[in-house]
């Protein structure tokens, strides 16, 4: 909209900004107790579109604040480099649909190595391109991590994640905290 100078009255924001705001205001009641004993390790991709290209380091910081809140400070392991200096996953800019698969995967090797270096078994990828690309390079290079949205782990932490909403969770979390109906 900036590029074409299209005027708009609405304000533009992202879900991650709102998550952070709602947690700070106490509206979104969520914590990392669920992961206290499990100690499952998470890392996160900084989507170029959201972080470097639009909202900058502040978005990267907000995302980490949200993630640390829901998985626990000690269970978040950052990639190097990160934030506005993070590497693109290699699926952006239409690369996933461009048909140059070998090149796209060669590009993604950088991301794959970064992830492996963290030792995390879960990767937050709050962008659909990143999500698909990071899953693909994981399979291609033989990684053993799961790729998740923030909303999935957020609901898991709140104890409200339904049975059908666990496609991207590994076996360790497939049944974790599943809400069982009281027989009526």
């Amino acid at each position: 909209m900036r590029k074409f100078k299209i005027d708009h009255k609405f304000e533009f924001t992202t879900l991650i900004t709102l998550y952070a705001q709602w947690i700070r205001e106490g509206k979104l009641k969520v914590n990392s107790d669920w992961n206290k004993d499990l100690k499952i390790k998470f890392t996160a991709q900084d989507p170029c579109n959201m972080v470097r290209k639009t909202w900058g380091q502040k978005m990267a910081d907000d995302m980490r604040f949200v993630i640390r809140t829901i998985v626990g400070e000690e269970n978040f392991i950052d990639m190097v480099p990160n934030g506005i200096n993070n590497y693109c996953c290699g699926g952006g800019g239409g690369a996933l649909q461009a048909g140059f698969t070998d090149q796209r995967r060669a590009y993604g090797k950088v991301k794959f190595d970064q992830i492996q270096e963290t030792g995390a078994t879960y990767v937050f990828a709050p962008c659909h391109n990143c999500h698909a690309q990071i899953e693909d390079i994981g399979h291609h290079y033989g990684g053993h991590y799961n790729v998740v949205h923030i909303w999935t782990i957020m609901c898991l932490a709140m104890g409200v994640l339904g049975e059908n909403e666990r496609t991207y969770l590994g076996d360790d979390l497939k049944d974790f905290g599943l809400h069982k109906e009281e027989p009526s």
Binding site: M1, T13, R52, Y107, H179
Partner: protein
């Protein structure tokens, strides 16, 4: 194959074109320091890298530039310009390389998604009625099966809602159950929100295709719908 550079035939027309469209691209300021190339995961793919590309543009090797498929391998991620001491705008240069390809020769996957978005309002080509039906169906399922969410509110095109939420069209089409966690969070905080029905797909293939006209059309339709029909004060990009 390496060819000697034919100095006589060099006319940096492409450089002039890019500078005309992007006056702040700083193409002539490149110091050839290589910072961009060192930090670019697309370096060496198709025998190209960002520094080399800038050299070629400045030297006027327009034919090679027009041909290289590297234009579609660079993801326009902006990591290079972020680190470049002279702020050479390589991503915008690449955007203009893409725009130089005849539209029908651009990668089919991106082209198809862009055309679909222009036609149907989302890159997957889901008719709006199907989107609404899916949303209502998934919502009803949650309301019926989980008493904690029996008054979960989900709506499409509810005028006056505070937040208009952009949804990537992959969820309603291929994994509708993935819509639910977001709704549950919005429910927990009592957010007043709706999905717009016009250009509701959060994806942006026309931008990737370097189709200015298509991209602009999508944005204009979307802005008009939000500002005039729904009057939502805030638009939210999802994960």
């Amino acid at each position: 194959m390496s060819l000697p550079i034919e100095i006589n035939e060099m006319a940096p027309d492409f450089k002039a074109l890019v500078l005309d469209r992007v006056p702040a691209a700083n193409l002539d300021l490149c110091l050839t320091c290589g910072t961009c190339t060192a930090g670019c995961p697309a370096s060496e793919l198709f025998d190209m890298d960002p520094r080399k590309l800038v050299r070629m543009v400045v030297l006027g090797l327009d034919e090679e530039i027009a041909k290289t498929p590297w234009a579609w391998v660079c993801t326009m991620c902006t990591r290079c310009i972020n680190a470049c001491p002279m702020k050479v705008d390589i991503p915008k240069l690449v955007y203009n390389m893409r725009a130089g390809w005849p539209r029908e020769k651009r990668p089919k996957g991106i082209l198809g998604s862009c055309d679909m978005h222009i036609r149907a309002g989302n890159a997957m080509g889901v008719p709006t009625e199907d989107f609404i039906w899916t949303v209502e169906d998934v919502a009803e399922e949650i309301q019926m099966t989980d008493p904690r969410f029996q008054d979960l509110q989900v709506s499409v095109d509810r005028p006056g809602a505070y937040y208009a939420i952009n949804q990537n069209s992959r969820e309603p089409v291929t994994e509708p159950d993935e819509l639910a966690p977001l709704w549950k969070i919005l429910h927990a905080v009592g957010a007043d929100w709706t999905y717009p029905s016009v250009m509701w797909g959060g994806e942006n293939y026309c931008l990737f295709l370097a189709d200015d006209e298509g991209w602009r059309y999508i944005l204009e339709e979307f802005v008009y719908h939000i500002d005039n029909t729904l009057k939502c004060p805030v638009v939210v990009n999802t994960e």
